[in-house]
Amino acid sequence: MSYELLQTIWFILIAVLWIVFFILEGFDFGVGMLLPFLGKKDEERRAIINAIGPTWDGNEVWLLTAGGATFAAFPHWYATMFSGFYLALFLLVIGLIIRGISFEYRSKDANPKWRHTFDWMISIGSFICALLLGTAFTNLAHGLPINADMIYTGNLFTLLNPYSLLGGVTMVAVFLLYGATFLTLKLEGELRERAREFSKNLYVLAAIVVVLLAFFTYTSTDITTKIGINPGFTPLATIVVILVTTFFINRKMEGWAFLSVATHILLTQVSFFTLMFPRVMISNLNPEWSLTIYNASSSQYTLGVMSIVALIFVPIILAYQGWAYYIFRKRISTDKKTLVY
């Protein structure tokens, strides 16, 4: 295979890793954020955690794999992004740590204070993760001060521009909606109805910020010069899909509601990566200084080796993760006898 083709394949593969991560872990973040608001009694909270308990950790590995694959395939992208987003990623890591440990520890002690603390850490940790990932991705589209040596020259406050903060809020809102539709699909009884009510309200918030973000993408990125005023099918479908979600929510078609939010996330990411391609880090100091799949990648040999590795393992992973979802496909009740932990 030619070098350019391998570089393109790896760009697509890393996009796929992120997309799968957002589609799977997106509802985990949403469920996490909703936990203390949706669950009032202890067994309700446990039922909510049980809805994602068996799979959240496996979902999170898609993020670690996206990081590892970026390191292996595009070392400069990995180096510039991770060092450039230093404090943001530090906070993201703290968010992931407090959330991860809380899932495992919250039910291991019966003291209500203990459980309450960990429940809030799940919620806050999930919120931090969604907010920062949204902010980071919109910053990538927005462009960053990157010099001729591929080094980020801004600081944390450079990342906190209004457009990117809107991106962060959008990711929080969409994941909240996603989490609520997921719980409507996974829970039973009163808790399920409560999740449905939440999704109705969260829908309004999500739809507003998504439309706003789409609007400001015209003013804050180079979409008009790169793609044109007419963004094409995918970005438009992204908006349409989020707008029709309300129909499914109101008709109590919870499976469809969940799928349509998932599709929205998928299309958003596809739009994002299409806008980026073939760039991976856009320099707003000088377009010549942007990192692209051509100047940021590993050697042809390494990309070739990693392609074989990915070809072997990704199907196996999809198979056993699919099996895990199949095992835990049933709805979760708040009946104490069926709850785990």
Binding site: D42, E43, R46, G53, P54, T55, W56, D57, G58, V61, T65, G67, G68, A69, F71, A72, A73, F74, P75, H76, Y78, A79, M81, F82, S83, F85, Y86, L87, L89, F90, V93, I94, I97, I98, G100, I101, E104, S107, D109, A110, N111, P112, M150, I151, T153, N155, S298, S299, Y301, T302, V305, V309, F313, V314, I317, Y320, Q321, I327, V340, Y341
Partner: protein, 461 residues
Amino acid sequence: MDIVTLSRLQFGLTTVYHFLFVPLTLGLSWFVAYFQTRYYQTRDEDFRKLAKFWGKLFLINFAIGVVTGIVQEFQFGMNWSEYSRYVGDIFGAPLAIEALMAFFMESTFLGIWIFGENKIPEKAHLASIWLVAIGSNLSALWILLANGWMQHPVGYVINEVNGRAELVDFFALATNPKGWLFFWHTIAAGFTAASFLILGVSAYHIFRKQNVKLFKISFHTASIVGLIASTLVFFGGHTNGQFMYETQPMKFAAIEAHWETSSAAPFSIITIGDLSGKQEIWSLRIPYVLSFLACNNFTCEVKGTDDIQAEYEALYGPGDYVPLIVVTYWAFRIMMTIGLLMMALTALFLLATRGKYENAKWMKWVPWVIALPYLANSSGWILTEMGRQPWLVQGLLKVEDGVSPNLTVVDLWISIIGYTLVYGALAVAMVYLMKKYIKAGPDAALHESVDVAPTLVGSQE
């Protein structure tokens, strides 16, 4: 402090902390799998209780290993971006493979193991804990191959055009003897750590006459495994040392405070240095022994730090190529002393199990042995990493050239303080839970929570 020192401090803190939890995960997973398999074969309730009890402790420990592992993967890019650019073509591959081959497997099947009991066939449930054990140990393999490459770079060329190291032989990377020696040493150390936890906890209960039958099974199993594992740690370490003698002579000399090249090199029993940490005031040495350790020959030549320093200056230009000897020297001695002590202890414990040891007074003191592997493992990594100084990749890239140039001292202090606070809180919660579940014993482990105060929450069983 400058950003290089702070970045090193942070990497050292987060990595040593992470590795407090990893060895136990590596070793204890096999014990849990073993006890669950014995239950599956014999239907003996004792084994079910043991699998559950050690399984709870495994989970409490595993969680911290996982969450602190995220930091490990991210901080190469965050703090060492120039390193990542220079070696990413090579070093990224084992990291990505680790995620694809191991992280997915251990995380997915751990979820299935925790939540899947009674939902999937018992055989599949049993298989899932074995896959967790295999997954976590595979993850150790790939990260150690990555670290092995930093100690002993193989299968690469320096690309003159872009000035970075590039992979030309993946097979060489995957079969790097340094990585495999680390793997041998580390996996054996994992089994040792798990054995010592089990020995200590079992002794605690046996001494108190609680569940004596169960804990005698544990104690006996762990003393056998511990003896084999600590012996393997010793031979793995010895082989590692001989490989180091050939490939990293400076590190070898530095851990021995061996200043001058000599044949029939003496082994230092104790060396007192000055405040620079790199000069000797007084020492006690046994002749011939160091040569023997280095190459199984009493008279082979062992180069000293002074000569290697001169050699490296000629090869790599001016600079200080001697690691901080006071650290490498003492870390090695702590590691080795504890290693030998653990071999001796497990041998004694195994002998004791042939008699009526459950009433022995010394059992009271056995729980303290739990601390030993932690000290040895931390010392081992400190000497391995600090012994490579000033190199980040042996002979190719110095630590000061690998750091992220865009970071400020403020950035680093924020993250160091932040990690320290969060990691401190994690340790408090973890130790609290460990103590609670250890004291509650195996009967409680069969239930979802060991608390028995139904008035406290609405959801007690």
